[in-house]
């Protein structure tokens, strides 16, 4: 036994710093200044840790491998000698995803500590816990911690949504928690089935056992496990049957809270999707099922987004439909498609955050975010209008922005595996995104303000939003919008900045597509 | 170590039937307080099954959590809202 393998220092920090920050901030409760500094410092330290950390493992109950030279990559299913290893792995993919999430965390906390006045401590704490749960799920390589991460994440999502304090958000939180109870139980059953079938909780071990052992009578158990896994996957990302609940969650939270929520759910989607691809990717019809779920999600999400009249709800449905784009890449499972899907996850998080923070800024101008009540904001806040329009361009895949780069990879990979229909669906999705967003943007930003009363007079009164007082948009919001827009532009021009972090995973996980 | 004698199996049968009937009965009550108590009684049978499946630590935990903590939380909820199911 070689003892030279040591645990990595950064993985426990990435999980523990958010948890400690949660506890401290929760105890401070309403001392807003102290909360602001402590939370900003810990969020910034998370960014620095992800940037500086080397790649490596963290084991809880693992046994050392016989030959450390074979330990190249956890997503490679051929690691020998890990028995019952509860294991975390920090690699290039994890670095890229967690770095983006930490960046969003800093911006969101900067906005939330300025905007909120009541019960700030618990709210900031829950945002930190969102980070912790997503970091656990992205780094994890055993089923046990995967399940724990999903459970923590679902409870915290309910908390963040209910924190916005309206009736609709409490209802959304209750519905989401009920469903999370169901899907958490499903994931536990899947865990039990895989454990009973293989005897391993480590995912790499389980995969090796499934690939090398003849499961003749027992393989139908694997299909049932696949079904339960799919249940928790659609729950984590809000894929098709859950899209009403998930979009309600996105729409009912504060927009800056939604920026963090969608980041967490995209990361969970990527991580659980990769686990499913590795465990079940070679089963017949498994990837077809995943692909059909993602195509349906893209379609229903974007069609429902077209029907909304509130920028908040349009964004909520668009986030759901764009997570369909991520899962198309993962469920196709070839090298190109995986690179495209993972890159799309990163891009999606960035440009949707631009739009969500823009939506938050529209709130400060008083008339709500409905297309019926808000108007003429481009005159009051021209830079805000510019940022939102640029975010729309990025979301609908217009060339100098990052959305274009990942969508073109996805379209090419769909064509390469011989599914031009999927490519057409992706194209239609990006065009329709533009239509759905620009309808709202025209009404809110570009329509002259004085015609508002004509539209309002035709309204059902209960639908009209309360008209608040106009407050100046804080500088921090403009700064974070500028940072995000610049990042989307840079990634659009130099996509290799991110793609080189994603290629090792894509190489290790990819499975050729047999039509 | 528990010897699985015939009388033990009889008790196990009773417990399994008790779990099922208790679960259904808890969901059919009109009085929510009674439903909470019945679900607590159901989890005593569950604790026995855990014990029989050679996991005594789980049996103890389930006996405490299932009979005191979970019905307690629900009873708090009932006292803060209302006791009977409305039509």
């Amino acid at each position: 036994m070689i003892e030279s393998i040591s645990n990595l220092w950064s993985i426990p920090l990435l999980v523990m710093i958010p948890i400690f920050a949660t506890i401290i901030v929760n105890l401070l409760f309403n001392r807003n200044k102290a909360i602001k500094y402590i939370s900003l410092i810990s969020a910034l330290s998370l960014v620095v840790i992800t940037l500086l950390s080397p790649y490596g493992f963290q084991w809880f109950t693992g046994q050392p491998a016989l030959n450390p030279n074979t330990l190249t990559f956890t997503f490679d299913a051929s690691i020998p000698a890990w028995r019952m290893a509860l294991e975390f792995y920090f690699g290039p993919l994890q670095q890229a995803l967690i770095f983006v999430m930490a960046l969003i965390l800093v911006l969101v906390i900067g906005i939330a500590t300025n905007g909120l006045t009541k019960n700030q401590g618990p709210y900031i704490g829950m945002i930190f816990l969102l980070f912790a749960s997503a970091a656990i799920i992205v780094m994890v390589n055993d089923l046990y911690h995967l399940w724990i991460g999903v459970e923590i994440g679902s409870l915290v999502v309910a908390g963040v949504v209910a924190a916005s304090g309206e009736g609709i958000s409490q209802k959304a939180a209750l519905k989401y928690t009920f469903f999370s109870a169901l899907s958490g139980a499903g994931l536990a059953i899947a865990l039990a089935l895989i454990l009973g079938l293989t005897g391993y909780s480590n995912i790499s071990d389980a995969i090796r056992y499934i690939q090398t052992t003849n499961l003749n009578g027992m393989s139908s158990i694997l299909y049932v496990a696949f079904g339960f896994f799919t249940l928790s996957w659609i729950y984590a990302g809000g894929l098709v049957p859950i899209h009403p609940l998930k979009s309600e969650v996105y729409g009912a939270a504060f927009p800056h809270g939604t920026a963090m929520l969608q980041t967490q759910s995209k990361l969970m989607l990527v991580a659980i999707g990769l686990v499913m691809l590795r465990l079940f990717g070679s089963l017949p019809f498994a990837r077809e099922v995943m692909l059909s779920i993602s195509v349906l999600t893209m379609m229903l999400g974007v069609v429902m987004a077209l029907l909304q009249t509130d920028l908040r709800w349009i964004l909520a449905y668009l986030i759901v439909s764009h997570s369909g784009l991520v899962t198309v890449g993962i469920s196709l499972g070839t090298y190109d498609a995986l690179v495209g899907g993972l890159f799309q996850a990163v891009n999606d998080v960035l440009y949707m955050s631009v739009l969500l923070l823009g939506c938050e800024a529209v709130y400060y101008l008083g008339n709500g975010t409905s297309t019926k009540t808000a108007a003429g904001i481009a005159k009051k806040a021209p830079w805000l209008a510019l940022a939102v329009v640029l975010g729309t361009f990025a979301a609908s895949g217009i060339p100098p922005f990052n959305g274009f780069q990942s969508e073109i990879i996805l379209i090419q990979s769909a064509l390469k595996v011989g599914l031009p229909e999927v490519a057409v669906v992706i194209l239609i999705l990006s065009v329709t995104t533009f239509i759905a967003l620009f309808r709202a943007i025209y009404s809110i930003f570009l329509r002259p303000a004085d015609t508002t009363h004509l539209v309002v007079s035709g309204l059902i009164p209960s639908e009209a939003q309360e008209v608040g007082k106009e407050t100046p948009i804080p500088r921090g919001l403009y700064l974070s919008l500028a940072i995000l827009v610049v990042i989307t532009l840079i990634l659009g021009v130099y996509p290799d900045l991110v793609i080189r972090f994603l290629t090792p995973v894509a190489q290790a996980v990819s499975i050729p597509w047999y039509p | 170590m528990i010897e699985l004698s015939a009388s033990f199996m009889v008790v196990a049968y009773i417990m399994v039937v008790g779990i099922t009937i208790g679960a259904i009965a808890a969901l059919l009550q009109k009085d929510l307080l009674r439903a909470a108590f019945i679900s607590g009684a159901e989890s005593i049978a569950l604790a026995f099954l855990f014990q029989a499946l050679l996991a005594p630590d789980l049996g103890l935990t389930q006996a405490i959590v299932g009979t005191v903590l979970l019905p307690g939380i629900i009873i708090v909820g009932i006292f803060k809202t209302r006791r009977t199911e409305e039509e």
Binding site: A172, L174, K175, F178, F179, L182, S219, S220, Y223, V224, F226, G227, T230, L231, I234, V240, P241, I242, H243, P244, L245, E248, L283, P284, F285, A286, E288, V289, S292, V295, L296, M299, L300, V302, V303, M304, L306, L307, Q308, T309, T371, K372, L419, E421, V422, V424, V425, I428, T432, I435, A436, R439, S443, V455, G458, P515 | -
Partner: protein, 108 residues
């Protein structure tokens, strides 16, 4: 004098009809676009079945065209079915789960 409607009049009446009692609003453009999108998406989805067998895809395409014409404002149905009522979502989830298990077991 018998008025003869042109095709334009018929289509206009039909489209105005299905946004129904809500009257004119800026939602209408969304409904129109959504209807067209749904039709195109369903056709594409039906044609995806050619990866299983080509005759099935042809039959499905014809059936889908018939279904689109029959359920004419499809968008209304879609909006109603993707409601945020908890029980309806749970019902769909159970059905979905059954379909997933059935399809994967069939593939074995």
């Amino acid at each position: 004098m018998v008025s003869v409607d042109s095709l334009y009049d018929k289509i206009k009446r039909w489209t105005v009809e299905f946004v129904g009692g809500r009257g004119y609003s800026n939602q209408m453009t969304g409904y129109m676009t959504g209807e067209l999108q749904t039709a195109v998406f369903t056709l594409i989805l039906a044609s995806l079945f050619r990866i299983f067998s080509i005759p099935l895809a042809i039959v499905l395409l014809i059936a889908v065209v018939a279904a689109i014409l029959y359920f004419a404002p499809m968008i209304v149905h879609i909006e109603r079915e993707s409601s945020n009522d908890l029980n309806r979502v749970l019902f769909w989830v159970v059905i979905y789960f059954a379909i997933i298990i059935a399809v994967t077991l069939w593939g074995r």
